[in-house]
Symmetry: D2
Subunit: 282 residues, 4 copies
């Protein structure tokens, strides 16, 4: 609508279906004049609707497992071929925890699963950056974003080892942001988004209550996927060139709230009739 | 019980009655071998029980309005006379908001009241430090503490202009901590304490619900006044000499929580029957 | 260039001359299609070049002392008259410390000056917000920004009581952001900008060395006034609607750096020939 | 000297020689009346002087690779046998990066090395906690500490993938602190210590310049290993029971400094003769 990304090119990881945050970002980036390339794991390609998105955005899908250097090298090569040269931005929206999926509580972690959580949800971001830098694939003043969550700072029951992965992800953004900034003027940031009902998010236990709570705690309400996409556009644009190594909260104010009147009004209803959890299985 | 403060001397601001945080600190400091001097405003002396505390701690009370340089100079002079020289620690537990007391909401502040809030709750801390430094009243490696609250970082409805005062208080601890550290090796910190049912705290609207919420959010529960006193002792002792310019959370973990299972279990009871606040008067 | 602010209207505080951050924001906002109103204190109007800016931006200047409720009421009334109704954004770029100007060190503050520092640099922001809200002057989903600095989190010698004012300013953004968000969907944020050589900034002692240090510490270098303006545009636009109660670092990465190789290379030159300050007068 | 840990028992990981932070903690804990058990990897036992420490502290050494569940189970079993039951505290001071050792820069990481860095420096902490909890090995109100560094928040060139490991370590302290707190009243914290010249620390490139810089930036100077030990004692004691899920800076104020006069005085010497790094190999 504004041509904010006119002439820019970028790779978007993690679009599965039209509930995905990455899906909305792809649509908005295309609207704003960017050329994009989509990527996801082979298995996600099979179960999701990404080809539909590719059509909408007049582009291609290049399958890649973001934990595989080989796949990432192929992705970057193919994308550069498609774009006819370097590109300008990347969105990393990739996360998965087998411990969460399999209902392993945080004091009963399976360490193979934990390694997978870290590899998929954090280290893959480093791999993307390292491969891109080695191939000198991103133009000066490019912008790289990854999706984070407030669990990196504050513990939410049930979010499990994903909290540790997000903390590491944000650290990678700082660590690589320093290197990529000093040498190529490329900025690296994370966005800490409100909980959003995506296919991935819907697996988190007790998500309904949490969404109600964060909605009432946040003075502007939870941020939607569409709003997330809008915010990403500004961070890919040339108007935010000196923002780097930051974790940016996009959450309607939740991260700066201790207690809102709306949330407290809900909570107070239970005061006369206090109830304890049925054990601590998460 | 441990003689942690044997041979140390200090001034304690803000004890009113046996619910006061400062009261407990005075008792514990005395138990740990410290000599102390108590101080509070003339009006607090009249309404509180501080003489009882002075007897318990075998000491004197020197009245002082912490916003008055003259009073503070007199206090420091008298205290040094009483101690026979320099002293080692100060606790600043002084805060008041007329906007809260008079029910002025944050979007309808009385600016004279706001000035008073700042003067009493934040600037007084600077005055104490500046007067003490000018009089070279504190021994090398001394320790100065002030009482803060998580509202300095995260907004809690109804806490009002006190949030801004606490943010400023924590900044003063950093700013003066730099100066006092480099020149006299004196450390300056704030403790961010759980909400506690003191005479002051009980004026905050909706404090019961909030205390229940923070109790259930904090894995160790709210920190009590006795526990606060214990923590202060460690920070006055010689065992924490290199901790300075910090805001230390003493809150059972609340500050690092996003959502606990116990708090969510309470909250979820209201989900079937959502309720909105009756307007936004705070 | 993008029409990002087409149809939007806003008030810009604090433009003095073409080195001012606010000056650049005014120009950029106008370029992006906004209608603006300029304001500054009567004395600044006399010494600065704001009329030149008004011509460029095809608008008017309404004098106002941001510490005066009366002036602010008049400003808002006149601006609404000029705009023909409500407006959409405000930039607050107002700060001054007499303690800095008069060379009073932080352990020798003049408390009347401190009150002025707070009134001009922090409380004025609350007054602007309170007057605007009382007059229901800002459209839903409007955006209010104030200028901050990393001294709110980390002490820089010589920045003096302005650090405390900035800490309070950021707290006001959170506190009022909660209220304004829940009731009017208006967001309130601060931008923590690199040190910039403005007329105001050039008064800070040792600014040259500091600028060199922050330039070499920041992987992307210091953010310029032009870049600041670009960033403000994104935050006034509709693309950042769910960002509120945040302090956003716009500093080339400085805030997330502990030590860069470039800065350390400079520092290491002094290792063989260490030098101490000539006393601590700041 | 104060009997602060009288009757308490604990396990200390990571003492190598008398430069080790953990060594000092062991000595001080013993002095304060604690019974301790020492542990380190078999290879460290061979190269270090830990048997000397065991003699001093009148205790035993139980070899354990902290990344091995089997070793940790054996350690906890043997320690409980030695103690005759549960114990009260743990110090985790374990970290290693092969990427640092082998001079792999952060944009050229070996991912097998990274996995090792994480396993040794962060995941081992989770394993210690998980094994201890499963065996119900720690008394109620026990205290668990791990050693961190400011690189978890702010990038320091050359600290490499250890920064990401420390960020994850601090997250684990929060995540497990929630679980262990709610169920067993056990607190979990990290201490972010000044850079210290230990055998481990001396491997970090450019450590001399960095130590000089942090010494001059910190108003109280760098914290020593002895001071670290003192601080740990307070956190193992009963006086800090409600401090949990925190990262506590023990650094002479460094973490709250933006620029000190002493550091700037050094830096300014280079201004007339600016020098750039010889490339960016770290």
């Amino acid at each position: 609508m504004y041509n904010l990304l006119k002439g820019k090119k970028g790779i978007i990881f993690g679009a599965l279906n039209n509930m995905s945050l990455a899906w909305k970002v792809a649509e908005r980036a295309y609207e704003e004049g960017a050329e994009i390339v989509l990527t996801n794991t082979p298995i996600s390609l099979r179960f999701g609707d990404i080809e539909e998105l590719a059509k909408k955005c007049n582009t291609i899908v290049i399958p890649a497992d973001a934990t595989s250097i080989e796949d990432l090298e192929n992705l970057i090569d193919k994308a550069m071929e498609y774009f006819g040269g370097k590109f300008d931005f990347i969105l990393h929206s990739v996360a998965m925890s087998m411990n969460v999926r399999k209902g392993k509580s945080y004091d009963n972690l399976n360490y193979n699963y934990l390694n997978k959580t870290l590899d998929i949800s954090a280290i893959s971001f480093h791999k993307v950056l390292q491969v891109a830098k080695k191939k000198d694939a991103i133009n000066d003043w490019g912008s790289v974003l990854a999706l984070s969550y407030v669990a990196a700072q504050r513990t939410l029951y049930g979010y499990n080892d994903m909290a540790d992965a997000k903390a590491m992800l944000e650290s990678i953004a700082r660590s690589f942001g320093y290197i990529y900034g000093r040498e190529k003027k490329i900025r690296v940031n994370t966005i800490s988004q409100s909980p959003t009902l995506t296919t991935a998010g819907s697996g988190v236990k007790g998500i309904d209550g949490l969404l109600d709570f964060t909605e009432r705690m946040s003075p502007l309400g939870n941020a939607t996927a569409d709003e997330f996409a809008d915010f990403c556009i500004t961070l890919f644009s040339d108007l935010t060139r000196k923002v780097t190594m930051q974790n940016l909260f996009h959450d309607g104010g939740f991260s700066s709230m201790g207690m809102s009147l709306r949330a407290m009004t809900m909570y107070n209803q239970a005061l006369d009739n206090p109830k304890e959890p049925d054990g601590f299985d998460i």
